[in-house]
Structure formats: structure tokens, C-alpha cells
Amino acid sequence: MSWALFKSLWPYLRRYRLRLALGLGILLVNTAVFVLIPYIIDLAIDDLGQGATLAKLLKYCLLLMATVSARAVLNYYQRLILITVSRLIEFDLRNDLLARLETLSQGFFQKFRTGDLMARAVNDLTAVRNMLGPGIMYSAQAVVLFGYVVTILWHLDWRLTLIAFVPAPFVSLAVQWFGKRIHERFERIQSMFSNLATRVEENLSGLRLVRAYAREPVEEAKFDQLNRDYVQRNLRLVLLSGAFDPLLQFLLGVAYVLVLWFGGRAVLEHRITIGGYAAFNLYMAQMAFPMIAMGYVINLVQRGAASLVRLQELLHQTPDIADGPEADAGIATLRGELEFRHLSFSYNGVPVLRDVNLKIPAGATVALVGPTGSGKSTLVSLLPRLLDTPPGMVLVDGRPIREIPLRVLRSSIGWVPQETFLFSDTLRANIAFGRPEASDAEVEAAADIAGLGRDVADFPEGYQTRVGERGLSLSGGQKQRTALARAVLRQPRILILDDALASVDTITEERILEKLEGVAFRRGGQCTTLLISHRISTVRNADFIAVLEQGRIVEQGTHAELIGRGGAYAGLYEKQLLEEELARVD
């Protein structure tokens, strides 16, 4: 792990530096107590060989009990302190991750898919925590133990120590050589595994086509190929991983052989005692587990380091939409006049909006229509600054949008997104999402305006009904109306309906729109409304309609004007009308 990477963790480690120091201190003492055990047995066996007394034997046994009791206590604290720290750092990192994500714009969320972000927040975080917890603890323990054992054995007989440790460099070589290759093969298998998953996923998504074209045998053949490759790859990995563990066992066994052979000679030559011979054997056994675990620990650290890089990539994202120096803190309310001025906008290098010019007076209702991908949603996302444009292209109340404090701007906007998004919470919490302090009466009023009131009466627990995962599943229309109520409750100056009622039937939609208008008038007609819809019945009454195609406004005017022109809008009209009118038939 590189130093820079480690330094990036320092702020987190620093917070727990006292605990870490204490934990590592205990580890030093604990390991020292651990290596006492073979030493006591060594003494006991020597004495047995020379005709021990009952008192001596008792002394050794009591000593052993004392040692092992101390060891139990120390062991407990060592593990508790060191592993808990890693859990606390995980806690901090996870919180920081969310805090960072909250400051990032939609541009970021387009670049990083939800699945990827989830993987980082869950898997990578786990890998980092494993590196910090067991990773640090076991490697520190192994190093300290190694130091102690070598020192003791050196004092017993340095020549035998050198001989007994002959396999050590081979172990370390094997760990490195195998570790690297196993890791590589494993990575490749992981990617094949996800190919396999993608294949099944695609087959299931295109299920009806596969069946309709009777392509099942071809699909099975394709899957079989991947399945076969996957098995072959796995077996190639097993060739390595299956040899690795036995090899380590073998090398450790060689150390025992050397102790038996050369240690036996040393006893015969009276260089060491029979107890010393036993001690060598017991110390080898103590070293065995940390040595074997070394491969595992190195793997933990390597994975942790790779994951840390991926985490840092998120944690180091600069918040891309925030109040800049140009924000004018004096602005507290908005009138709702909007203007797009020579607006061009690209998304990851692809132009989405091209030279859009549109001025909307406060209180007007403007409809945007056009095919999917024509840039309508992008255009309205610029208003709550979910995306940012170069300065001067979007103006609110005649001022560049960046001069308006983000909080003021966003709290003045009621946004009903195209893809309705509700949270797994009560219905009330979802409606009051933007104003948690709103009274029950206000929530109910907003629900009524959105045409949701009657549905709620049928819900088992009314507004306290939980919705979403593990709750009541709402119909598409109910979800959309909830999202609308959520926006209405904010009493916005600017209301954005991004194809917001597509799942509500035409007649209900018209009723809702009428109510919305009524509310706006009661408030002095000050709510500027931007309406995106595919339905002619929805947009025909707008003050003004703009038709977008490939990011450009190609037509604009009132419904009557556009029908008269016989262009894109008139074509859309023909296509939609049939469906809409059929819905009215009784």
C-alpha cells in the first residue's frame, strides 16, 4: 500500500489514536505472554528428565495457569479494542460517503451508476474495514511474535534457529508468487462471473422475444459456452490455489523435520536440553498459524488498498453544485420569472440542448413537448440546479441563476420528476418530504389537490401507511399523485411537472390540473408552471407550447397556432388523440 494512500486514512486513524496505541500496546504484552507458554513447558520437561519433585511440577502447572489466565484477559482486550476501532472507522467512512454524495450533481450520478456506487459503499467499505481490523491486528501480531520467537530461539541455540528457519524465505516467496497469480486468476473469474450474470439477465429481459423467435436452443448454447469457460477458468485457478495451501503445510512440515533431525543431533551433542528440543517444536507450532495466515492477511491488505482507492475516488469528488462567491445572500424569495438565453448544454460530451431561447413571465404556464431524448427533462433539471450550465444562460427573475442562494432557489421550486421516486416511509413523510414541519391539515390539503385524498381514505393506516419496499405498493398513478402532493406542499413559486401524470388517466389528470390552477389563483396566480407531457389534452390549454427535437426548439406557439401549422406538433396530435379519446369512451 502506498504511503499517500495510507495518509488519506490518517484523519480517521487519528480520531482513535489513543485506542489504537492502547490496543497495540496490549498486543505487545499479550504476545510476550503467549511465547512464555512453550518456555514453561520446556522447563517442566527438562525437570521431568532430571527427576523432578512434586513441588516443582506443581509450580510449573500453576505458572502455566497464571500465564494462560493473563493471556485470556489480554487477548480479550486486544481483540475488542483493535477490531472495534475498525468498526468505528467504517462507521465514519460510511457517513462521510453519504455526506459527499449529497453534494454531487446529476452529472456525477450519470457517470457512476447506482450499482457501482452501492458496490463501493458496501463491498469496498467492507474490504477497507477488513484491512484496518483483522489486517492490522494479525500482521502486527505476526511481526511481534516472529521477533519474540526468533530472539528466544537464538538464545537457546542460534545454529539450530538458522536451520529451522531455512523454509521461511521459501514460504514468503511462495506467498508472493502464488498470491499474485491467484489474485489475477481470481479477478478474471470474477469478471467471467458477472458476464454469466449479465447473460442470464439479458435472456430474461428479452424473454418474450426469445420465445417469440423460438431462440431458446441458441440461448442455451450461448450460456453453455460461458458456463463451460467459467468452469475451465475455475479449474485453472484451483491448479494454483489447490497447490498453495498444501505447499505451505509442506514447508512448515520441513521446519519440523529440520528441528527433529538437527535438533535431535543437538540434544545428542548436548548443545540443547530435551526441554529445549520440545520448545523448538512448540515454538514452530506457535509460528505456524501466523505464517499460514500471512497469505490471507496480505490478501486482505491488497484488497483493502484497491478498495480504498475506489472509495477515495468518491470521497475526493469536489461538490460540483454549491453556492459560489456570486451568490447574493440578500435574495430570500423569488417571483418566478424564467429565462433561457442562448442555452447550449452538453452531457458527457454529447450535446443535449442547442441554442434554446425561451422567456417565461412569472405565473405563466408553458408546455414542453417532443420525442424522448429531445432534451425536455434536461432543460427543466437546470432550474433546481440539479445540473449546472455555463454562467448567464439560465436566469431567474432576471438574474443569473448562480446569484440565487441554492437553498432559496430549491425551496421555491416544486419539482415532480419524470420517474416518480418515493422513499420507504409513511405516506405522510413522503408528502411532507420537503417540509417535515407541515401540519396534518396542510398535508391533507396538498394530497387533495393532487387528487390523492380519496385513495388515502382506503389505505389501512391512512397517511401513516408505509409505502415502498416492505410497505404498501402504490399504483403508478398513486405514486405520481403522491409526488405531486409533495411538490404542492412546498407552495412553490415555480412548479415543474416532468411528464408527471403519465400514469394517471386523462380525465383525472385534467381534474388535477384544474385544481392546481385554482390553487395558484388563490395565491395570486404567482406559480410559474413548466409542463412536460406527451398528452395533447394536458398541454393544449397551456399559455404557450414549445416543441423540442434533438435539443432545439423547432416550433412554438399556442395549441391552435401549432395545429394550424401542420408540423411536428400536429403529427403528435394525431398519434395521441386516438388513445386519449378512446379512454373517454364508456
Partner: protein, 614 residues
């Protein structure tokens, strides 16, 4: 769903294990080999302390009354004896290495091959399950069955099970050797076992409680993150960042706390086990030491006991880990078998039906997806060969359902559908579907090249046919703009193409096999004006001279059809040609009037020839 994923049952379920063994059976001789190798290998594992005992008792601290298995073969000279035992030990280790590797590879081989079989079976099963099955089972969950669940099983078969055998073999052999050495001392080691089991029992209980909380909280963290990442725009637009952070911190804190509790349990358990194992060593030293002092036991045996005792407890700790692995494997196999047990479509073995001209008849068709909620009620109509049918109706009127029935994605509850006078249920399913060229509403594209998507991997479709299909579907112009033409590889789901372009590829796909019947569920998504024109042109060409059924959204397309059905809430309200329907003054007539009310109205029942705007 989450609940299903979380549920953990027993670790040993005989019914499930019996079924799992079925997948191992074809490789049973390999398993036998692996088991023998494992048994021999564990013998090599316990040989070390034994040789130590021999070395000590025979050469280092000779005891005249020590019994040795092969004492008479060993040289008298101590130096040569030690060397001989060293070489012997090395040789045994070498054999152990080979056996260990052989056993691991063999079991992994078995695991991989049986999991290959299982995956193949699962995938094939998915290809044969009725469409209705997929209405209730989200794709994501099914993917998990074929991938992750099988992988969990594999881990168990090839790793956990082998380790389990290994542990059991080693434990048995240690006990056997210890009893042979001295049965009284071996009672000490075995006597500590109940204490270990007790500790393990309490530990497992404590940890299980923590893990239960952890599982719940992990699910909550995942849901929270998933929701807040997907809905981050909503969080931001509604100024909810701080509140969301506080909520998350709460869940996160609970999760951290649950883990710290689990860490506490581990922090108690590991020291306790170590304490007990050293306690056993101390007791052996005490009682063994006493015996040595009385001259009834050799030092070599005491030392061997100490070494064996230390090796005794590791496998026992392992065993409790294996229990967890086994438990999750059982849960996985339960889910897998549930999928495999989902009933397949009843296949009616059919005599091949000769190819007809393509006459379609709906004969008093009733259909419901569930219970009595009829989607189609008593629908009757006939489409003559070579003629075209247009279905008009609002969303949910049952138009798409009619197509699903024709393709036999579902079977009708009452009445029948006939193709060339033969009930659909008497056709071989594949043969039936091959009669149709289909464009579904959602223009789905697979990974691969554009040509692959048109050909649908049907090797029988020639290059020339693909090109003809591209021309007829009005796709050729677009392909010409791509450097690699129709050999261009599509990114995920054709993300590089516009909606309109995807539709045209789907048109070409339907045409490529030159089907006698064309079914077209027109996409509702609007496209830009240029593409719209292309699609209309293509449509006109495609319909010419074929039996065709289309669900259309424009009167201008519909009015050219030979037969028009007006479907409303599952009931066929009107049928006839454009002219006939206008004369009926019904729904169709009202629609038609509405559409053109901004223009000059045609005379009420006269023969209308309106100017259709392109």
C-alpha cells in the same frame, strides 16, 4: 424478497442433501478417490508428534520399556536413527503434499462439474417456464438463483465439505493414537470437550442474535443507500440533505453497535477456547508428569500428548464455522430447488401441422391473467390469409394480450384460437412461433452486432436476406452512416441508438425470416419527425402481401387495414373496414370525427377522403 433472501433454516436438511447428492452422483468415483486421499492425508498430518515421541523415547531420552510400532527397524546408532526418522518424516510430508493437492483438486473438480450441470439445468428450465411465471418473479432474483446461489453451493461442496471430512478424520485419528498411548491421559483431552461445546453453544447464541440484527440493519443500509442514490435529485431538490444524513447516521450507528456486540462475543470466545486448550495441556503436564515421576510413562508420550492436544482444538473451532457455511448452502439450495420445481408449461405432443396460408380465427375467446378479472370477453373475429387487421383500443383494453395469446405466451381460458383451422394448442410451440414475425412494443436489443440482432442467431438466414430486411425496414440509410455498417457492435441494450433506430432494427428482425404472418405492436414512444416518416414508409412496405396484425395508434395507419377491431375493456365493440365503421356511427366514427374536427368535417356518413397530415 429481502425476507426470502435472509431466511436461514437448519444446517442439515436430509431432503435437500439427498437432492444435492444427486448432482454429485455422476462424479461419485472422483469423490471416493478424494475421500480416500483425505483420510490418508490426515494420517500424514498427525505423524509429526508421533515421530517426535519415537525420537525422544528411543534416542534423546531413551526409555527401555517404550513400545514403538517400528522400533526394530530403526538403527541402533542415535545419530543415524535421528537422520533416518528425519528422512522418513520428509518423505511422509511429500506424500501428504501430493495427497492434499490431489484431494483438493478432485473435490473442486467435482464441485465445478456438478455446478455446471446445475446451472445448465436452471438456465434450460428458465427457457421453458411459462411466461406467467416471470410476471411474478423479478429477473434480478432469478439471476441470483443461477449465479450467486449456485456459487454458494459450490463453496460448500468443494471447500466446506472437504474441510469437514478432513477435520473429522484428523480428530478421529488423534483420539485413536492418544488412546493407544495412554487411555487415562486421553480422557483429560476428551474431558475438556464438553466445556468447549458449552462455550461454543453460548457463543453461537450470542452471535446469532447479533447477526440477526446485523442482517436487518445491512438490509436497511442497502435500501437507504439504494433509495438515496437513485433519488438523490429529489433529496437535493427538496433540501433534505441534512435530515437524510441524520437518518443514515442513526441506522449506521445501530449497525456499528450490532457489530461491536458481535466483536465482544468473539473477544470472549476465542480466549476461552484457548484457555481451555492450555488448561488441558496443563492437566496433561500434571498427571503425565506424575506418571513420569513414577516411571509409568515416558517423556516422549507426555510431549506427544501436549502436541496432539494443541492440534485437537483447532478442528473443533473450524467445525462451528462450517456450520454457518452449511446453513447458508441449505438456504441457497432450498431457493434453487424451489425454482426447479416451478411447473413447466404442459406440452401437448403434437403431430406436425402442415404449413397453411395463415388464416387466423378467434373463436369465443375469454382470457384473464388471474381469477375472474377478464381481460378479453368473448372475442370473435377472422383474419383471412394475406389481409391485414388493425386493433384499436385504449391502454389496457386487451390489445397486447391478444398478441400474447396468439404467440401462446398464455393459454385462453375459454374458447379457442385457430391458425389455419387448427387449435394453437395442437401446434408444436416452436413451430407455431416460427410462423410469425414479431415487433413487440418495447424495441429490445441484445448484446451483439446489429446483424446478430436482425438474424437472432438463426444460421438459416442468409446475408442477402438480412440486407433485404434492412432495406425493407428503411434501416439501410442509417447503417450506411456507421463505419462498420450492420457489423457494428451494440453497447448495453443498444444504448447508442435512438428509440426510432431501435424500432427500425426490430422491424428488420421481424422481416428477416420472411414470415407468413406479421405481428406488430406499435411503440407508443414518440420519435422525431424524420424517423417518424421512415417508420411509416417501412410499415407500408412490410404489410404488403402478408397476413398482418397490428396495434396502431394513428388513424392514418389504421384506416388502410382490411379489418379494424375496436376493443374496449376487453369487449370487441365494433369490427369492419374503415368505410363500414364510419357508417356505423359508433366509437370509431366519433374518434375519426374528433381527429379531424379542427379541419373540415366530412359529410356525416358520406365517403370520407380526408387529407391526412404526414
Amino acid at each position: 424478497m429481502a425476507q426470502e433472501e435472509e431466511a436461514l433454516g437448519k444446517a442439515v436438511d436430509r431432503r435437500l442433501i439427498g437432492r444435492l447428492l444427486g448432482y454429485v452422483r455422476p462424479y461419485r468415483w472422483t469423490v471416493v478417490f478424494a475421500t480416500i486421499a483425505a483420510a490418508l492425508q490426515s494420517a500424514t498430518q498427525i505423524v509429526g508428534p508421533y515421530l517426535n515421541k519415537v525420537v525422544i523415547d528411543r534416542y534423546l531420552f531413551p526409555s527401555p520399556d517404550a513400545h514403538n510400532l517400528f522400533g526394530s527397524y530403526l538403527p541402533q546408532d542415535a545419530f543415524r536413527g535421528v537422520a533416518t526418522l528425519g528422512v522418513l518424516y520428509l518423505a511422509i510430508l511429500g506424500v501428504g503434499f501430493v495427497l492434499d493437492f490431489g484431494q483438493t483438486y478432485a473435490m473442486q473438480w467435482v464441485g465445478q462439474h456438478s455446478m455446471y450441470d446445475l446451472r445448465t439445468q436452471l438456465f434450460a428450465h428458465l427457457q421453458r417456464l411459462p411466461i406467467s411465471f416471470f410476471d411474478h418473479n423479478p429477473a434480478g432474483r432469478l439471476v441470483t438463483r443461477v449465479t450467486n446461489d449456485v456459487e454458494t453451493l459450490n463453496d460448500t461442496i468443494s471447500t466446506a465439505l472437504v474441510a469437514l471430512f478432513d477435520d473429522v478424520f484428523v480428530l478421529t485419528m488423534i483420539v485413536v493414537v492418544m488412546i493407544r498411548f495412554n487411555w487415562q491421559l486421553s480422557l483429560i483431552t476428551v474431558g475438556v470437550l464438553p466445556a468447549i461445546f458449552l462455550a461454543t453453544h453460548y457463543f453461537r447464541k450470542a452471535v446469532r442474535e447479533s447477526y440477526r440484527r446485523i442482517r436487518i440493519l445491512v438490509a436497511r443500509i442497502n435500501v437507504f443507500l439504494q433509495e438515496h442514490i437513485t433519488g438523490m435529485a429529489v433529496v437535493q431538490a427538496f433540501n433534505r440533505e441534512e435530515q437524510a444524513y441524520r437518518e443514515f447516521e442513526q441506522i449506521n450507528k445501530g449497525y456499528c453497535k450490532a457489530w461491536v456486540d458481535a466483536v465482544f462475543a468473539y473477544s470472549v470466545y476465542y480466549p476461552v477456547v484457548e484457555f481451555l486448550s492450555i488448561l488441558a495441556v496443563t492437566l496433561i503436564l500434571w498427571f503425565g508428569g506424575l506418571k513420569v515421576m513414577h516411571g509409568t510413562l515416558t517423556i516422549g508420550i507426555v510431549f506427544a500428548f501436549i502436541q496432539y492436544t494443541q492440534r485437537f482444538f483447532r478442528p473443533i473451532q473450524d467445525l462451528s464455522d462450517k456450520y454457518n457455511t452449511l446453513q447458508s448452502a441449505m438456504a441457497s439450495s432450498e431457493r434453487i430447488f424451489k425454482l426447479l420445481d416451478a411447473p413447466l408449461d404442459p406440452v401437448r405432443p403434437a403431430a406436425a401441422v402442415p404449413l397453411g396460408p395463415g388464416r387466423i380465427e378467434f373463436d369465443h375467446v375469454w382470457f384473464a391473467y388471474a381469477g375472474e378479472e377478464w381481460i378479453l370477453r368473448d372475442v370473435n373475429f377472422v383474419v383471412e390469409p394475406g389481409s391485414s387487421l388493425a386493433i384499436v383500443g385504449h391502454t389496457g383494453a386487451g390489445k397486447t394480450t391478444m398478441i400474447s395469446l396468439l404467440l401462446r405466451f398464455y393459454d385462453v381460458q375459454q374458447g379457442r384460437i385457430l391458425l389455419d383451422g387448427v387449435d394453437l394448442r395442437d401446434y408444436d410451440l416452436r413451430q407455431l412461433r416460427q410462423r410469425f414475425g414479431i415487433v413487440l412494443q418495447d424495441p429490445y436489443l441484445f448484446t451483439g452486432t446489429i446483424a446478430d440482432n436482425i438474424r437472432m442467431d438463426d444460421a438459416g438466414i442468409t446475408e442477402a436476406q438480412v440486407q433485404a430486411a434492412e432495406r425493407d425496414a428503411n434501416l439501410a440509410d442509417f447503417l450506411a452512416t456507421l463505419p462498420q455498417g450492420d457489423a457494428t457492435a451494440l453497447r448495453e441494450r443498444g444504448s447508442g441508438l435512438s428509440t426510432g433506430q431501435k424500432q427500425l432494427v426490430n422491424f428488420a428482425r421481424a422481416l428477416a425470416a420472411n414470415p407468413s404472418i406479421l405481428i406488430l405492436d406499435e411503440a407508443t414512444a414518440s420519435v422525431d419527425t424524420d424517423t417518424e416518416l421512415k417508420i411509416r414508409e417501412a410499415l407500408n412496405r412490410m404489410l404488403a402481401g402478408r397476413t398482418s396484425i397490428l396495434i396502431a395508434h394513428r388513424l392514418s395507419t389504421i384506416q388502410r387495414a382490411d379489418l379494424i377491431l375496436v376493443l374496449h375493456k376487453g369487449v370487441l365493440r365494433e369490427q369492419g373496414t374503415h368505410q363500414e365503421l364510419l357508417r356505423q356511427h359508433g366509437i370509431y366514427w366519433r374518434l375519426y370525427r374528433l381527429q379531424y374536427k379542427d379541419q373540415e368535417l366530412p359529410a356525416a356518413a358520406g365517403v370520407p377522403q380526408p387529407v391526412v397530415s404526414p
